[in-house]
């Protein structure tokens, strides 16, 4: 029973990782950039939802929507100001810029809200229903359900809609896509907005289950989600989902059965093994369809 419980916990955090990993994966697919600032978008989202709810006294649903919009806008601004001027320069410059953006977001938030962690009071009703001698909280179920719904919606968006088709085309070959009359700039901005919006949802779910907000919370969360994206095959949507869930379960099991302090080391160990054995991950097979 404990084992199943750990697995369920793992799936809960894994669903959050998967949402974040999707953002990494889509952005990587479309501009070939590891967006280091993506983890900090989660941090921004956490602060935003906290601010909207405690300072502006918004109801939870309005705060959530406002957070998603806020993060999407921040994502677009970052893309326009920091990444767009560098689209044709060396990859290493782009990577360093992304690190710079990440540091900038962290430190600006730290300057505004100080480094002390803030407490977030969850709006999901506490309690849950019990199976055996353990109880499964509503937070766990809601997190898993929302993540699953979003993933289905995203898959439909990418495979069925016009903008989804444009995203796939740009990630395949952006010059050709441009010749076919696709507005590459808008598509890239949309991808950033979508990824940041997903990160905002992940942020809301994350603060509901872990209730603590700090300026540096995003970097570790972002790195773990990145490991998930690489594990599943960066650039692939089902890969990011599977990777997120696997990483979540692996982390939960390590914490439960080995040592909670070594969990990070185990995750990075997984990353290193994946990169060495199969750098393309589970689904990212070379030139396969990527978004």
């Amino acid at each position: 029973m404990t084992f199943l419980y750990q697995i369920l916990n793992g799936i809960q955090i894994g669903a959050i990782y998967a949402l974040v990993a999707l953002g990494y994966s889509m952005v990587y697919g479309i501009v070939k950039l590891i967006n280091f600032a993506h983890g900090d978008i989660i941090m921004l989202g956490s602060y935003a939802v906290w601010y909207f709810m405690t300072r502006l006294n918004m109801p939870w649903w309005l705060a959530t929507i406002a957070t998603i919009i806020f993060c999407s806008i921040v994502g677009i601004i970052i893309e326009k100001l920091a990444y767009k001027p560098l689209r044709n320069s060396a990859r290493i410059s782009l990577l360093i810029t992304a690190i710079g953006v990440s540091l900038f977001l962290q430190n600006t938030v730290q300057l505004i809200f100080t480094a002390n962690p803030k407490m977030f009071v969850t709006f999901i009703p506490s309690g849950g229903f019990s199976i055996g001698n353990r109880s499964i909280s509503y937070t766990t179920l809601i997190t898993i359900a929302i993540s699953a719904a979003i993933m289905v919606a995203l898959t439909l968006l990418v495979s069925k809609t016009k903008i989804g088709k444009a995203m796939r085309a740009v990630s395949e070959d952006n010059r050709t896509a441009q010749l076919m009359g696709i507005n590459v700039d808008n598509t890239i901005s949309f991808t950033f907005a979508l990824g940041s919006g997903l990160a905002a949802v992940a942020a809301v779910l994350y603060v509901c289950s872990y209730s603590q907000i700090a300026p540096t919370m995003g970097s570790m969360l972002g790195l773990k989600a990145f490991v998930a994206a690489v594990l599943g095959g960066i650039g692939s949507i089902p890969g990011a989902m599977l990777g997120g869930l696997l990483i979540g379960v692996a982390e939960s099991l390590t914490k439960g059965y080995i040592s909670s302090q070594l969990a990070d080391a185990v995750l990075f160990g997984i990353l290193i093994i994946v990169l060495l054995v199969k750098p393309t991950g589970f689904f990212g097979r070379g030139d396969r369809e990527k978004v």
């Binding site: 590891i34 560098l86 900038f104 290193i272 990169l275 060495l276």
Partner: protein
Amino acid sequence: MKPTRLIDKTWFRYIINTIAVLLAFGLLVLLTGPTGEGGLLNKYMSQIFIPMGINIILAVSLNLTAGFLGQLPLGHAGFMSVGAYAAALFSIHTDFPKAISFPLSLIVGGIVAAIFGILIGLPALRLKGDYLAIITLGFGEIIRVIILNIPKITGGAYGLKGIPKDTTVISTFVCVVITLFLIHALIKSRHGRAIISIREDEIASEASGIPTTYYKVTTFSFSAFFAGIAGGLYAHFIGVLDPAEFGFMRSVEILVMVVLGGMGSIIGSVVAAGALTVLPEVLRGFSEYRMVVYSLLLIVVMVFKPSGLFGRYDFSLCGAASDIAKAIKKLTHRNKLGIHEEAGK
């Protein structure tokens, strides 16, 4: 003009540079005093030269992989921590006289870091670009977590205490000079040209018969060696080692110095490391904004001048001297020509 002038001879250049180093050394002693006290600057101000020197070693050694080899590792602080702990443990657990123990501990720190460099470099350098950055970041974090989890040896989260505070301004200066000389000599050698060729085009250099894997791993561990030495200096400067000091942020700070100075420019790294160490001290009241300014600087430099302040320019004392001499000669020569022309009319 003779075909081989004095200034083109290698031995003459060595003499000039040795004299310059000795002059700098004399200036430093004048400023800080022979034992770190009693110079023109007070004790607090002379202490700043130590972290400055440590940062210069770190930045120049990272520049070797980032600027000259063209790979971007994000785990430089990991090597620094390995060197720091190795050197500190060596100092604590052996009882040689101080004059032998301290330099020996630095070398031990450097060698242990270099071994880690080979161990990490062999698998990591099979990857390129972003993936290399991520895998080295992963290794850096793993090193930190492991140090945190073997408290019997490293003191864990409480830190390693009781390290003799042996680092002085002078020993730091000596280490900086040796590092700069060795890295400069490496870059100017046959091996250095091989390393630069890998940066320019890895496939072409491999096709020209350069063993790229060998050079990549060697350069990586060479760079780790100096990071280890810097770590040893740091350990003996602070006296207490805390694993939290060697996180990702530290690696990024070193990277900022390299990028700002210019990837592939040693003088750039030296200037940027020096400036970024002194500035926060000067702007004490401004310290909250330090990281915000750093990160903005990083973005702005990347967007507007991706090659950094110095680009790939490297300063050479004799080169500068001969440039000046040439310019003067040209000037006087032109004057003479002018006179002749006037006479001809």
